[in-house]
Symmetry: C2
Subunit: 396 residues, 2 copies
């Protein structure tokens, strides 16, 4: 049974959503500009924008920001009022809950953590409700009122197979959950309307609306860390996969006959470039069975050649995976990110080099952004999904 999001923002028609999202993602724009970019008539933009202005979601800027000189009446750019409404985003990991409060632009305004002592559903729901309560106590970031009265939507990100439309966690190996109707439970426990999404997909949404993906009709987000995953946006829509599987770049086979992967395959990207795989290999080449990741990183940075090669090998595998992805999809941009922030300097060069060799023809023109990922970003992704729930139907 699909659950539906609240429609507090006055979105009643496709055009209304188009206009609102254009202003949201492309900053202050005049009505004619919105019309030009969306193909709507300027009359339609005027009509669609009015309810948003009345409800306080949009405002009309003084015509100061004019750039184009020339004659004619100056434009009155429409701008988002980011403090009109706040959103809560929570990422559930195996060890803790990371929560943030964001504004309409998904900019983080407050954050809080919470350790997780058990994976029991009831326990997690209670802990999450506590965290939300903590985040929403006190006044709004803009100081004009009570935060709880200005936040209605909660986004939750979990790794695994998640059915966003029904709000059910189908399978999460990390938490050991199967078919948990988490959104429903959290609706009740928090009083907020909850949207549930896979963690990587949530991050992709954040990029699509508020990050590197803005303006690109197709792009990919790749996360590297404990696991290696990705999410793909094609024609503006997230690819979900007919059987719930998509974006498994971690299990693209890139080294025929390479190391065995826990998925049953051989030579998967994840079997070479995940944090665990790197550590295993580092211990092999050094012969030190108790080598820690931190030490391996330090020594590689210090110039230890065998260890540097382990990291380069991981970068190579990632580059091959990226080439596979880009040759198949041809996205406009690819963002590579992940929790192993500290070690990117050891990867990046090799990723780029391998990608450049293996990308086919003009696919190599695809913009490759390699960027560390602050941990809170995961929670921000969850909040972005909550923001998105305002103006995108659940069927997506």
């Amino acid at each position: 049974m699909p659950r539906s999001a609240p429609a507090r923002a006055p979105i009643t028609s496709p055009a209304a959503a188009t206009v609102f999202t254009t202003v949201l993602t492309e900053g202050p724009v005049s009505r004619v500009d919105v019309a030009r970019r969306t193909g709507l008539s300027s009359a339609a933009v005027t009509k669609a924008a009015r309810p948003f202005i009345e409800a306080g979601y949009l405002e009309e800027l003084a015509s100061e920001g004019r750039t184009a000189p020339g004659a004619g009446r100056p434009a009155n750019p429409l701008a988002i009022r980011p403090d009109r409404e706040y959103f809560v985003g929570v990422k559930i990991t195996g060890d803790d809950l990371i929560g943030v409060v964001t504004d309409l632009r998904a900019d983080v305004r407050a954050s809080a953590h919470h350790a997780l002592s058990s994976h029991d559903t009831g326990h997690v729901v209670r802990a999450l409700a506590d965290l939300v309560g903590e985040l929403l106590s006190g006044t709004t970031p803009d100081g004009t009122g009570n935060l709880r009265d200005r936040a209605y939507c909660l986004g939750v990100a979990v790794s695994g197979d998640v059915d966003r439309a029904s709000g059910v966690v189908r399978y999460s190996p990390f938490l050991g959950w199967r078919d948990v109707p988490l959104a429903e439970l959290l609706d009740e426990a928090t009083g907020l309307t909850t949207t549930l999404e896979n963690d990587v997909k949530a991050l992709a949404v954040a990029e699509q609306w508020f990050g590197e993906g803005v303006g690109a009709s197709s792009f990919a987000l790749v996360t590297v860390g404990t696991g290696i995953g990705s999410a793909l946006v094609v024609h503006g829509d997230l690819v979900r996969g007919a059987h719930g599987v998509a974006g498994e770049i971690g299990h693209v086979p890139v080294a025929d006959g390479g190391p065995s992967c826990h998925c049953g395959g051989q030579g998967c990207v994840e079997a070479i470039a995940s944090t665990e795989a790197i550590l295993t290999r580092a211990r092999q080449v050094t012969g030190e069975a108790t080598l820690s990741m931190d030490d391996a990183v330090t020594r590689a940075r210090g110039g230890d050649e065998p260890l540097r090669e382990v990291f380069a090998g991981a970068g190579h595998a990632i580059g091959l995976g990226l080439a596979a992805l880009v040759n198949l999809f041809g996205p406009e941009r690819v963002v590579v990110s992940g929790e192993g922030v500290a070690t990117y300097d050891l990867f990046e060069e090799q990723i780029r080099r391998t990608f450049a060799v293996q990308a086919f023809g003009s696919a190599a023109r695809c913009g490759l952004v390699i960027r560390p990922l602050p941990f809170e970003e995961w929670a921000r992704g969850a909040a972005a999904v909550a923001v998105q729930s305002l103006f995108v139907s659940d069927s997506v």
Copy 2:
């Protein structure tokens, strides 16, 4: 400057297109059934169907075909009248032109070939116009009139980078063409409205509308032969790639450190499993520098183990490429096809085996159809694109 298709079929609204394509692809269906499947009201279906019936594109069947018993007025199924209009499809290869005439269902009703003695644009255009003239001479397959008066659309398939919207061949290595406005030239030379498409994408369209792809919102078509290519349909739309490159499964790297590919990469699927790569490898393992493909196939079938392994190796590489594709996309179905019809028995088992091992989780549930490809099928794909041009805007 995008060219626009003729709208001879009375398609004036999204609903009209929806109704028509539903009947076209899902056989005779009653109006209520169409309504149920599309989410439209049955009133809308009635209204949308009328102009098509009046124009002779659809007809109402007698209520004989009833299956459901029970009470109530029997349904009057709507059916396509395939002979209402004919379409011409032509595939341009390096050596010849293959042309077909099809009906509305893209069923081939006549065909003709034409050798190509030069790749000069003018020559190809003239030869193609001749071929079309030949195909359209005489009476219609249903014997009710002059074929030329009942065919208005031409579809042309070429390998390479093709911009369908503008009708321009951006780059075709095979023909040595760059930026040839072929559709425009053929509009003039044939008097038909021409739609140009990449050959593999055209085949994918044929599958999507009239073949294995019917009813699947996402699927992939992979062709194996001289080259190895693929086309992907996601959310019902063909993936085109931001830079004109997509579906290059032939250049997915699957064997780290494997044979060099003409694309500059290493271990690409095409460097292992293309017809040429197989022959090269077969000559290596036998030590016979003049071994022919036919002989290699015969001896492999006869049980020659080293040669069988060459073919199995190719199947393995294809299976790895398929796994990459399926793990990233999660299509509902994959069709593997190609011109090397005769040798499928040597591939298939290994393709399936490798795919099964490397497909991640439930992605393995994806339906894998491996099927020979009659050569005319390429031309049929071109015709399917022409049919599609009736009811899909050029922007796709």
